[in-house]
Symmetry: C2
Subunit: 305 residues, 2 copies
């Protein structure tokens, strides 16, 4: 048997996770949790893979906006298209909520860029992007820039009878194109933000199209418990996140009626990844007050990628 959580240093965080799992899977324990109730929910951007210099999906959107503007120069009147064709990263960084941008505005830009396509075509396009696109600093494929200790944690939970879900603020479909390959998490366990879909009946049967308009609520902040209820119908007993967008979800786990674990990942390793607390201040404060576990990427992990 391989060592449990082998990519984690021997710190109190690792011990707390293993002690927790050992307790809730032990039928002799007063805190035993049956498998049906072992729901774990992990945020994705910044919790499972890198979210700097900006959300991976925004690079995908820049690509798409550029293609659209090349096909129809009239679009260049609009700032998003102009920035995309110039490759103006700074403009897109500014949309990021960590930099003061509005998350809803951001996701509208993201989703509108692929409105009107069939869902099958979108999935192919997203998959192709993630097969080839590389991170500007690390020179690796985005899909390889997952945090390996967190992937190991997901597998460890799965091995112990947990149903492991992702709850991403980003687009659900985008993430589903790679969730099985990179995390071994099946598509139906990926929750996220969504554009509206519609079924159009054709001679060859029903086809699903993406239409303009966000599905309310976006999967961020108070939207996460709502989408967890819609997709799962149970509260998680374990939740992991890295920002204020995860605060509601981390707290939700404490209300499952079972012994629970809330994990807050802190980006404090500028050498191997990035160091930033912007956008996580409230949740870091809450973690301190309530004794949630704060995972230090620098101290708790042997490696990041």
């Amino acid at each position: 048997m391989s060592e449990i959580l082998s990519l984690w240093n021997e710190t109190p965080s690792k011990k707390a996770i293993i002690d927790y799992v050992n307790t809730i899977i032990n039928p002799e324990s007063a805190d035993f949790v049956p498998e049906t109730e072992r729901i774990a929910i992990l945020d994705n951007d910044g919790t499972m893979w890198v979210e700097k210099p900006m959300y991976v999906q925004l690079f995908f959107v820049m690509d798409r906006l550029k293609q659209m503007a090349e096909a129809d120069p009239a679009l260049l009147d609009q700032p998003h298209f102009k920035a995309a064709i110039k490759g103006d990263l700074i403009y897109f960084f500014g949309l990021d909520p960590h930099a003061g941008g509005d998350f809803k505005e951001l996701m509208k830009t993201v989703f509108d860029s692929h409105a009107g396509m069939s869902q099958d075509d979108f999935m192919l396009m997203a998959k192709e992007f993630l097969e080839t696109a590389k991170h500007p600093r690390f020179g690796m494929l985005y899909k390889d820039l997952t945090y390996k200790p967190m992937v190991e944690l997901a597998h460890y939970l799965d091995d112990n009878g947990f149903k492991v879900f992702l709850a991403s603020g980003g687009g659900m479909s985008f993430l589903r194109t790679v969730s099985e390959e990179i995390y071994n998490i099946p598509k139906e366990r990926v929750i996220g933000s969504n554009i509206s879909f519609e079924t159009r009946m054709t001679d060859e049967g029903p086809v699903i199209f993406r239409k303009k308009g966000l599905v309310d609520p976006l999967d961020d902040g108070p939207g996460k418990p709502v989408n967890i209820e819609l997709h799962i119908g149970r509260k998680p007993i374990l939740a992991a996140g890295n920002s204020d967008g995860d605060l509601h979800m981390l707290w939700l786990a404490r209300k499952s009626g079972q012994r629970s674990l809330s994990l807050l990942l802190r980006h404090d390793d500028a050498k191997h990844e990035y160091a930033y607390d912007e956008g996580s201040e409230k949740t870091l404060q809450m973690a301190k007050e309530r004794g949630w576990i704060v995972i230090s990427m620098k101290d708790d992990w042997k490696k990041v990628f």
Copy 2:
């Protein structure tokens, strides 16, 4: 080993189902389907349990409207409340789409009756209803009026590596209160129509409330493929339904890119259940044209309940 589909007669329908499953699970077959892709989706009302004299959930709503009108007689100005307090079943039958009612209007009535409650309170109330409420003709608990051959089919699919989902036109939460007990289908595999939820932050953390307003689309007709995409992100390879509200879903299975099976249940056993084709005419015609399997409750099953 117990006999496969022991509650089914030795008819072409039973043979077609077993042949299909044996083929797609056989790694030597050209039509082999890996487990990840083995998605089966079953409609609920009229496919898994009785939907006559009217949807089970409507009896629950009548109860609730009656309680509300007793607490606030001013509500009696409104026809739904008046009918509920008089126990006017005929009025509620008329809301049923099988009787020409509008499905969206119906579901609005259903959902509005529990708007403003916390989701936890709603789930308790629904569970309590289903623990005690009995069918007017059969005198049995509604939750015991599942079609046993279909429950057996769900278990048979599960045993063969399928992920079995329910896609109900009715309320998702209502059905989730019993899906594990009566079908052994976990809550997260129940898809259905929904009222909107919102998270309210309290001193004790986030609480999910039901608010007025349907989640678009309802899980009926063209809404079923949309909700399947949102919940699963894969097309089913096997689908079973009983009405025109299932037509899009039954056709969707034919577009999975895998060998597929579409099953249409026909209510033709007035003695043991009911006999009606109203509301299923289009799909019966489509099944004939396209060679989908029509299951006769009278001929294909040894027993119904």
